[in-house]
């Protein structure tokens, strides 16, 4: 790569990339909005494909989920491992998405989104060897990805529960939404994986890995800050 940016300038560049990813999507809160929202409210009965579409859209446009996945597959070179980790993540979020909505689990969306932001910080910190070399511990990445998957699923569940979902066809619709989430994830991940693979074939990858993950961590901190601010400052209605 032709970048010759040094030090802070280079960090700035990576940060800008992450920020651009964060802000290019109009809303920070990442909810289901506009005509999609009124559709979800109006639906009565099974609507497999619309919910699949909404699930996929939520994932593809969900920078919080995507940044975490970028962190997860950043150092996964073999497709087999990517599949393993992503499956763990998918199982995790499917469990809480399904049970969260069906059991009518009421969790504060801001807190969950703050934890999702924290999951990005956690993974980025792990990627810069923070746990191993700074804290001298080696937490199991698979378990972490699974547990954060549970939280991401709870986040999806709270987004769906903000709506007055009809009981009629509820299970079908949640499962459709979930399948859509997986499809969206595969689509988004393929793109990320291809880009990472191209980048990895270049020597610049390892040189810039540290700073990229630092920028990723910054994005994670920002999401945490944003969500906690919303939790403490925003009026409850």
């Amino acid at each position: 790569m032709a970048f010759v940016l040094k030090g802070p300038a280079r960090f700035g560049f990576y940060l800008c990339t992450v920020l651009l990813a964060l802000f290019s999507l109009s809303a920070f809160g990442h909810t289901i909005e506009g005509s999609d929202a009124s559709f979800v409210e109006a639906i009565d009965g099974p609507a497999i494909f619309p919910f699949m579409y909404l699930g996929a859209k939520h994932m593809v446009t969900g920078y919080d989920h995507l940044l975490f996945l970028v962190g997860v597959i950043f150092f996964l070179y073999r497709p087999k491992h990517v599949v393993q980790y992503v499956t763990l993540f998918a199982i995790g979020h499917s469990i809480t998405l399904l049970f969260g909505v069906l059991a009518d689990l009421q969790v504060n969306a801001y807190i969950i989104d703050a934890i999702i932001g924290f999951s990005i910080v956690y993974k980025a910190f792990e990627n810069i060897d923070g746990f191993k070399r700074l804290l001298g511990i080696d937490p199991n990445t698979r378990i972490a990805v699974f547990v954060f998957g549970l939280f991401h699923g709870l986040g999806l569940a709270t987004k769906l529960q903000e709506f007055d979902l009809s009981e009629n066809g509820l299970v079908t619709n949640i499962i459709s939404f979930n399948i859509g989430v997986e499809i969206g994830q595969i689509l988004a991940l393929s793109a990320v994986y291809i880009m990472l693979s191209i980048w990895r074939s270049n020597a610049s990858f390892l040189r810039h890995a540290f700073i990229t993950n630092t920028a990723l961590m910054t994005g994670g901190f920002m999401l945490v800050g944003f969500q906690l601010s919303a939790f403490f400052l925003q009026s409850p209605y």
Partner: protein
């Protein structure tokens, strides 16, 4: 900052610096931009300085109108299978409140036609069968806005409409003809 050499794992010092910088940058962006722009909180005064406060200002619930509102009452007697259309001429973003009550169930269709574009651009908002409906209406475009009522029974049904709003006049479409009604504003 030294160039990070590929094969060497990062030193604890670099990890601390990186994490600190990440946290610091996030906090700076949070306090400088996100809090004023998203939450209307401006702890450092940067929201005022950069004009970000405007982004979090709520939409003003007050909406000014240039003319006084009008109030209207009409009733239509619909014989078996007769229908009538009654529409108000309204500007973009003007509003009205209404209640209509009929003796028995009627088919209704609340819809609007944009000014100068004609019936082929009509947009329908609510249809159904009921003996009453109350509500408010905010004109999404300038044009004529109102109801189509149809008596689909064999009985004679009377429908009575009360409304108040920022419309200028109304038109009755009935039996193939149109009749304009002048409605005077409450205040000039």
């Amino acid at each position: 900052m030294a160039e990070n050499v590929s094969s060497e794992p990062p030193s604890p010092k670099n990890i601390i610096i990186a994490s600190g910088v990440a946290l610091l940058v996030a906090l700076v962006v949070l306090f400088v931009a996100i809090l004023p722009a998203e939450f209307g909180t401006d702890p450092l005064g940067t929201g005022e300085l950069l004009g970000l406060n405007a982004l979090s200002r709520d939409q003003n619930p007050f909406e000014e109108q240039l003319e006084g509102h009008r109030t209207d009452y009409v009733e239509f007697v619909l014989e078996a299978f007769q229908s009538v259309e009654y529409k108000y001429l309204m500007d973009l973003d003007s509003s009205m409140v209404f209640s209509w009550v009929a003796d028995d169930e009627l088919y209704y269709d609340m819809h609007a036609e944009p000014a100068a574009l004609g019936p082929e651009y009509a947009e329908s908002f609510e249809q159904g069968t009921a003996d009453r409906q109350m509500g408010s209406f905010h004109a999404p475009f300038a044009g004529i806005h109102g109801w189509f009522w149809e008596n689909r029974s064999l009985n004679t049904i009377t429908v009575r409409l009360h409304s108040s709003g920022f419309y200028q006049s109304s038109t009755v479409f009935r039996d193939g003809g149109t009749f304009d009604r002048v409605i005077d504003p409450l205040a000039e």
